[in-house]
């Protein structure tokens, strides 16, 4: 089972994503509520896939992505963005994000994306 680390400052979003992923054969090894915690947990948990929300306190998704990519350049990172964040997502792509999902998403979307990773 592929191991996933979920990052979002909203409890609800983490819970939704976790539920959808677990239902489809992924193991959630950790949750982080901001980018800084995500980076720290990444180092410890070494997940196969990381999801990063973009807007978060302390450290946002874009910065966390850069840190994670510095730790492991082959890290698979999916950005969770909202409409209107095209610029940030583009920067994320340049910084090595594997892909992105736009909120709000549903289980079908999650399956389509994650089965390709």
């Amino acid at each position: 089972m592929k191991k996933v680390l979920i990052t979002d400052d909203a409890v609800f979003m983490r819970f939704s994503l976790k539920t959808m992923l677990e239902r489809n054969g992924f193991e959630i090894v950790g949750e982080a509520e901001n980018g800084s915690i995500a980076v720290q947990k990444y180092k410890i948990l070494k997940p196969d896939i990381v999801t990063l929300d973009i807007t978060m306190p302390v450290m946002d998704g874009l910065e966390a992505l850069k840190h994670i990519k510095a730790i492991d350049k082959n890290a698979k990172v999916i950005m969770i963005s909202a409409m209107g964040q095209e610029g940030i997502v583009r920067e994320a792509i340049i910084s090595g994000a594997t892909g992105f999902i736009v909120k709000p998403f549903n289980e079908e979307t999650i399956v389509k994306v994650f089965k390709k990773l």
Partner: protein
């Protein structure tokens, strides 16, 4: 939440929980910012994030009216943040935000009560976008478009990685269609271009402008994303890479001799910009373990919502847990104090049962502590009321909160919120004078309401005080007499007793009924609420200086320390917290008045006697005073003596409510099962003394 036992789908439960929490945080921040007439960067970011979160989660849960409203408010604060606007009408802004909060809270409440969240947010959304327009005009700033960034010079490029001659390059044509609804197709196309860059020597694409133009999204949805490129990488590898595209619906990939006609037009416009093979990127060092966070006055407000290592538990589970622990305490007593064991010497058993007792006590303590929550949330809710009312009544008021970390059982918190609100409203409406009057009485123009919580013994005290005009003893007595609520002459009543008249039903000295209070249904409901959780209210006041209302509530309803007493063959439990002392009376100390009411003199003061056997109609042989025991008890206003047969002992007792098929008996607060299996009724001291 689902207090009536309805178990909701966890996702909805979490949505409601988080939405409520975020609205509370937002309200706090808003009121604070409005008061200080400034918004710090922390606050802007926090408000933005809250709106952003509500927008997304509401959309996920299909509560679109909430999502749209959150979106419009998010836009407002996005503007404020990006433009660093300084010309802000704080009152208008936060009036709107607070209205938005009220709307969302309203919808959440509907959902919690299994109704449809059918509120219309359009009016507020409109207000919001109008305010945004006004703000833009007032600040004359052009917003940086989120999409605007440094132009990528390489729309089409020739890679500097031209491998010197060795491999043969092939031209390819690809058309990519994305899944419906995946959004931001232009950025997805950009991803493809970005990833192909590594392995192609030239690349052209249609639409050309996938960075600045929003039209490209439509074009890609309609015709697909077309790419023409030249590479030495094998077709299999290209196909593999392109098939890995996220949200790919359809891929057309062909090897071509020449690029299709559409691309010829592009080539003619080509600008050759050599790409720098070494892309500049900030080298990211290992993350420092401690991050510098810049928290301003918003910091302590955020703290309550952002704690780690905390899980949220359904309240009904906690109730079950506490019930079970209560049962265990009773069972433990039934085992260790079993009548079968009477007279036996059981050293090992006693040792073991002491250990068991120790453990059940610990378990009990832990479970009770789980249910304890600080009063801070309830106290902070009052900020909103003070803010709204002081505006409406045109009074300047400051709310001071002391001891907000004091903890109280969750059950109890739910019951003090409404009474507190009423008391605060009263202070604002009737207690505090307006500015002119205050200045005329040499008081500071700003009125002060203090909310204090503190622990004392087995109780928690919640105190609401104001520095307003205070209570008029004479006026209250007159009104009470007029309503037939008092019979004694004024001189015989203490201040406390007279002031407590305002807690009686139907009492109100207000000539005019205001929007907030004055119908005389308020204070007695407050008293009822407080009584229902075993608490007591007492009122103190000094005319012209202010009033203080003290609410005493037990730490927990569930388990109390009690004194077991016997009356006939029945057993009663008197809460230790109500007991002042107990003693064996002498016959001569007991005196009766003309109506047969008995009294006893203790240290020069007279106390009424309540004979439990008479009150509860119990057969007992202990009639004459010197055969029984007097237990002096007190409630919020007075003390009296209860006459019982004998004292049995101190006992920790699990309070069980009287079963619903038994009508509420005045003087009985509940019941419990003793270690020997007998039932003991728990005395409600307030009820007895009120007789």
């Amino acid at each position: 939440m689902s207090g009536d036992g309805i178990i909701r789908e966890p996702m909805l439960e979490i949505y409601l929980f988080e939405a409520t929490q975020l609205m509370e945080q937002l309200e706090e921040i808003s009121i604070e910012c409005e008061k200080n007439k400034k918004i710090g960067t922390e606050a802007i970011n926090e408000i933005f994030r809250i709106m952003h979160t509500i927008k997304s989660s509401s959309a996920m849960m299909m509560f679109n009216n909430i999502s749209v409203l959150a979106h419009s408010l998010e836009d407002l604060f996005y503007f404020i943040r990006e433009s660093k606007a300084i010309n802000i009408d704080f009152e208008k802004l936060f009036d709107l935000v607070l209205l938005g909060i009220d709307f969302i809270k309203g919808e959440v409440s509907k959902i919690e009560n299994d109704c449809n969240a059918d509120g219309l947010s359009e009016p507020l959304v409109l207000k919001s976008s109008n305010l945004l327009q006004d703000m833009k005009k007032a600040n004359g700033v052009i917003i940086k478009d989120d999409c605007q960034e440094k132009k990528e010079d390489t729309k089409y490029y020739i890679s500097a990685y031209e491998k010197l001659g060795s491999e043969i390059k092939q031209k390819y044509f690809a058309r990519i269609f994305y899944e419906d609804g995946c959004e931001m197709e232009n950025v997805r196309a950009y991803t493809v271009v970005h990833n192909l860059k590594e392995i192609v020597s030239e690349m052209y694409h249609i639409p050309e402008d996938i960075i600045e133009s929003d039209d490209s999204v439509e074009a890609i949805r309609r015709d697909g994303f077309l790419i023409g490129f030249s590479t030495s990488t094998s077709k299999e590898k290209i196909e593999e890479q392109l098939n890995g595209i996220i949200f790919l619906r359809e891929l057309e990939l062909q090897q071509v001799e020449e690029y299709p006609l559409e691309f010829k037009a592009l080539k003619a416009k080509i600008q050759i910009i050599l790409e720098n093979p070494i892309t500049e990127e900030t080298i990211y060092k290992e993350t420092p373990d401690k991050l510098d966070t810049n928290k301003e006055e918003v910091g302590n407000i955020i703290k309550s919502g952002k704690q780690q290592s905390i899980i949220s538990v359904n309240i009904s589970k906690l109730d079950m847990l506490l019930d079970l622990v209560g049962e265990i305490v009773i069972s433990e007593a039934m085992v260790t104090k079993n009548p079968d064991l009477e007279g036996l010497t059981l050293e090992n058993f006693n040792k073991a049962s002491r250990q068991l007792r120790k453990l059940t006590n610990e378990l009990q303590d832990v479970v009770m502590s789980i249910r304890m929550v600080p009063v801070s949330t309830t106290f902070h809710k009052m900020n909103r009321i003070v803010r709204d009312m002081s505006k409406k009544l045109n009074k300047e008021v400051e709310l001071v909160i002391i001891g907000e970390d004091t903890e109280v059982d969750k059950n109890i918190i739910d019951h003090i919120s409404d009474p507190l609100m009423h008391l605060v409203r009263n202070s604002l409406d009737h207690g505090l004078e307006d500015k002119e009057e205050r200045i005329a009485s040499s008081k500071p123009p700003m009125g002060k309401i203090t909310l204090e919580a503190k622990n004392a013994g087995g109780d928690v005290f919640i105190i609401v005080s104001d520095d307003g005009r205070g209570l008029d003893r004479g006026k209250i007595y007159e009104k009470a007499k007029f309503q037939g609520l008092v019979t004694k002459p004024e001189g015989e009543l203490t201040d406390k007793e007279i002031f407590s008249c305002i807690l009686l039903p139907g009492f109100s000295t207000n000539e005019s009924v205001t929007e907030f209070s004055g119908r005389g249904v308020g204070m007695d409901v407050v008293k009822k609420n407080i009584d229902s959780i075993g608490g007591a209210i007492s009122i103190e006041s000094v005319v012209g200086r202010g009033s203080t209302i003290s609410i005493k509530i037990p730490l927990t309803l569930a388990i109390i320390d009690g004194l077991e007493v016997a009356v006939g063959t029945s057993k009663y439990t008197i809460p230790i917290t109500s007991i002042r002392e107990s003693f064996k009376p002498k016959e001569n100390d007991v005196i009766a008045d003309s109506e047969g009411n008995e009294m006893i003199m203790i240290r020069g003061e007279a106390y009424a006697i309540h004979r439990l056997h008479r009150i509860f109609n119990i057969d007992t042989e202990v009639i004459s005073s010197n055969n029984g025991i007097m237990v002096m008890v007190e409630d919020n206003t007075k003390a009296a003596c209860l006459f019982v047969d004998s004292l049995i002992g101190e006992q920790q007792v699990v309070v069980k409510a009287l079963p619903t098929y038994i009508k509420k008996a005045k003087g009985i607060a509940g019941c419990t099962i003793l270690g020997d299996g007998n039932i003991s009724l728990i005395i409600d001291v307030n009820g007895i003394l009120d007789r």
